[in-house]
């Protein structure tokens, strides 16, 4: 199965259909996406700032990152589900949209950055966990993370202005005005 036909299947799926025909689904799902993404960004920012040694290194890095973990992953999952629903509504258009592709690249970059940090720099955490300046690699990871997530948000907003909304509703579609 090639990519275009996968995209077509996603667009033709039941969730995609629901997102297109329900009057209130898109605003609600998009709001949930923005809220979850904002929470995700804020919690990641706290950890990244700590990785940069800000505001101070009093509290151990391991404590700061551990206490944010559940919130960050929950927010990510909610954001991902809402995002997939929105994608399904107009998969073909988003797939071909430059801003959307750049957003996905930035997301991937953020993930790779995080994985590299966890796999390499974090191993030496005992040495710099508390009351010590984080290593250069850690500070780079933190700065890069902030930059990439801000890019995700900027590209995401750009999608909203460039997706060439083609929501011309087919003649035989019944819109559910109750919800």
């Amino acid at each position: 199965m090639d990519l275009p036909s996968i995209i077509q299947s996603i667009q033709a799926s039941a969730p995609g259909e629901w997102m297109r025909t329900s009057l209130k689904a898109m605003p609600i799902v998009e709001s949930i996406h923005v809220l979850a993404a904002a929470t995700l960004f804020g919690t990641i920012l706290i950890v990244d700032l700590r990785l940069l040694g800000l505001p101070d290194t009093r509290r151990p890095f391991t404590v700061v990152s551990r206490e944010m973990l559940r919130l960050t992953w929950s927010a990510f999952c909610v954001s991902l589900i809402a995002g997939m629903l929105m994608f399904a509504a107009n998969a073909h258009t988003y797939y071909g949209n430059t801003a959307f592709r750049l957003k996905m690249l930035a997301l991937l970059g953020a993930g790779v950055n995080m994985a590299l940090f966890q796999g390499i720099t974090f191993r030496s955490v005992a040495a710099w966990d508390q009351n010590a300046p984080p290593p250069l690699a850690g500070r780079i990871a933190g700065a890069l993370s902030i930059l990439l997530w801000v890019c995700v948000i900027f590209f995401a907003r750009w999608v909203g202005f460039t997706k060439g909304y083609d929501f011309a509703i087919p003649q035989d579609t019944h819109i559910n005005f109750q919800f």
Partner: protein
């Protein structure tokens, strides 16, 4: 209100904001980044009150850590928000979501200011645990911010969300 919106829309400031293609997306993006900062700062303070986060630190330390970010973020959002309104006054003023958002925003800011002051006092007087009232207030304020965020997004979908209640002509 409509005539004020129309007058505002004719001003050169409004024209510039509307016509330079990257201004509105940039302002909205900054606004969204700040939502993350403000909401999570507020959430961290609330979670501290609920005894779920940073209990190893005194409340004053948590407040000092996050309140400046919250207030600075809100100021930045006021600037970006105001500029967005000047750029697209009709869009905002004819949205019920916008007016509800403004009302809840005022309530949120006032509640946070009052709540912050009373909690810092309570934390000095009886540092062990916050009262049920304080905990309920913290949950209420988080819900308030959630509503503000939802309403902010709903501005673009005002007719779909509110139906006949929308202020759109």
């Amino acid at each position: 209100m409509h005539s004020f919106a129309q007058w505002l829309q004719q001003t050169s400031a409004s024209h510039t904001i509307q016509s330079v293609s990257w201004v509105i997306p940039l302002l909205q993006s900054i606004h969204i980044v700040m939502i993350g900062v403000v909401f999570v700062s507020s959430l961290m303070i609330a979670l501290r009150v609920l005894g779920r986060m940073r209990v190893d630190e005194p409340f004053q330390a948590v407040w000092s850590r996050f309140a400046p970010w919250m207030w600075t973020g809100l100021c930045l959002m006021a600037v970006t928000g105001l500029t967005l309104v000047v750029g697209e006054p009709t869009r905002e003023f004819t949205a019920l979501s916008f007016w509800l958002k403004m009302g809840l925003l005022v309530l949120g800011v006032a509640s946070t200011a009052f709540y912050g002051r009373s909690l810092r006092h309570a934390a000095i007087v009886a540092p062990a645990q916050f009262s049920v009232g304080a905990k309920l207030a913290s949950i209420f304020i988080v819900i308030l911010w959630l509503a503000v965020i939802f309403l902010g997004r709903a501005i673009a979908y005002d007719r779909e969300v509110w139906g006949a209640l929308s202020l759109h002509a």
